[in-house]
């Protein structure tokens, strides 16, 4: 499921289960590519929460997670940040992270 986070909803969205948080901006081309990868992945992994954060609209969330470039991806399990990856990831890399953190 893909959810769009705001300052108010972020914690609730990532608090339970395994989440992939995509920090993006609307003008960033790699972000658009990554967004499509996530859309594809959600078909195969409907049990993974995909949470999207537009850093232009919610700079406070960007600051809180020390986002310095987009796309930046956080892998979060039950609210705990497991890993932060800066830059575009391909589908296989994201699946590896799901294997590593969801099935760990």
């Amino acid at each position: 499921m893909i959810s769009v986070a705001t300052n108010e909803t972020y914690d609730e969205l990532v608090n339970e289960g395994f989440s992939i948080v995509d920090f993006y901006s609307t003008t960033c081309v790699p972000c658009k590519m990554f967004s499509k990868i996530l859309e594809d992945l959600t078909l195969d992994f409907p049990f993974v929460n995909i949470v999207k954060v537009n850093v232009s609209d919610h700079p406070a969330l960007g600051l809180r997670h020390e986002i310095e470039a987009v796309p930046t991806v956080l892998f979060v399990k039950d609210g705990e940040e497991k890993e932060k990856v800066v830059g575009l990831m391909d589908e296989e890399e994201v699946i590896e992270k799901i294997q590593q953190y969801y099935y760990e």
Binding site: L43, D44, P46, F47, Q99, Y102, Y103
Partner: protein, 328 residues
């Protein structure tokens, strides 16, 4: 109702640009069949259903709870995609045939694993038929062929985003529309356009390459010719900017007529909203100073010119798709 921002310049005769030949701009293209198949499968999958299964089959998503001395297999309510091997290939294979609610005890990856299958979710992907495609509810897509055309159109759009051919074709139409149509330009608006052109000319002149020595000039011209394949010639900025701004006024006159037809003519409130939206970029200017910097006349011209530019861009894209897409 808010008063619309109008133009007094008008088109007396509008050239039919749709008869122009764009073939020289249309790039070579062959669909990426592998990506096409993947896209079509993905769309079917997206519109597929999920049903509850009674016993585990390959491809199911089985929600299991298991215990083991091996920490990896101590899980509560974990979803396993059976057969993919993301969790444990061996465990997934041995789960096949286990019924919902049934306990299991098996060996996987050298560990004894006890557990229960809590739930079985089975994705059902519709078959690739005209009937199932029609049910996807995509506008203009009611058959397998339509879906292929739709997906290839996306490939074409992506290609055109990366190259300049479509922009060149639009610019060609823009120029022909201006040259071949007949306009009655309002004297005041024309004077304003010429004034804007004169300001732009000064800006361009200020950026002109100035050579300190003759050797420098020769070196620059040589490098220019090597890079662009044609000799360097100085542009007459005066003539260039004057034509450009007059053409913009002409096309804006066309755009204004179109906006009136569509009921989308600009209003002063819209102009003020525009100024408001860009004020953050100019923190030292007041609203009134901003209005001097970005006068309403300029806004009107650009706003109506954009309507025609969009119309031309849409036309070019649709013509390119017709010619480039083998499924159309």
């Amino acid at each position: 109702m808010a008063e619309t921002l109008s133009l007094r310049s008008k088109a007396v005769k509008v050239f039919d640009y749709k008869n122009l030949d764009l073939s020289e701009y249309i790039p070579e293209f062959a669909p990426d069949e592998e990506a096409l198949k993947k896209d079509m499968d993905r769309m079917l999958k997206a519109f597929g259903m999920k049903i509850e299964g009674e016993s585990v089959e390959a491809g199911d998503m089985a929600v299991i709870t298991c215990t083991s001395e091996t920490p990896k297999f101590n899980k509560k309510g974990i979803t396993v995609i059976v057969g993919k091997g993301y969790f444990s290939k061996e465990l997934e294979e041995k789960l096949i045939g286990v019924k919902k609610g049934e306990n299991f005890s098996l060996e996987a990856d050298g560990a004894l694993v006890n557990g229960t299958v809590d739930r079985i979710v089975r994705p059902v992907v519709p078959e690739m038929t005209d009937e199932s495609i029609a049910k996807l509810g995509i506008e203009g897509v009611s058959s397998v062929k339509d879906l292929k055309a739709f997906c290839v159109d996306k490939q074409i759009e992506k290609l055109l985003d990366d190259i300049e051919e479509a922009d060149m074709a639009s610019a060609y139409l823009w120029q022909k529309l201006s040259e071949e149509s007949v306009f009655e330009l309002d004297e005041e608006e024309l004077k304003k356009a010429d004034e804007e052109a004169a300001i732009k000319e000064k800006e361009l002149e200020a950026q002109k390459v100035v050579f300190e020595t003759e050797e420098e000039r020769i070196k620059f011209e040589k490098e220019y010719e090597e890079e662009y394949g044609e000799p360097y010639s100085e542009v007459d900025f005066g003539e260039f900017t004057k034509n450009m701004y007059r053409m913009e006024l002409q096309l804006a006159a066309l755009g204004y007529e179109e906006a009136l037809k569509q009921g989308t003519a600009a209003t002063y409130e819209e102009y003020e909203n525009y100024i408001d939206s860009i004020k953050n970029y100019y923190p030292n200017l007041t609203m009134e100073e901003m209005k001097v910097q970005f006068p309403v006349e300029k806004y009107i011209k650009e706003r109506y010119n954009d309507i025609i530019c969009k119309e031309l861009d849409d036309y070019v894209l649709s013509e390119f798709k017709k010619k480039m897409n083998p499924y159309r």
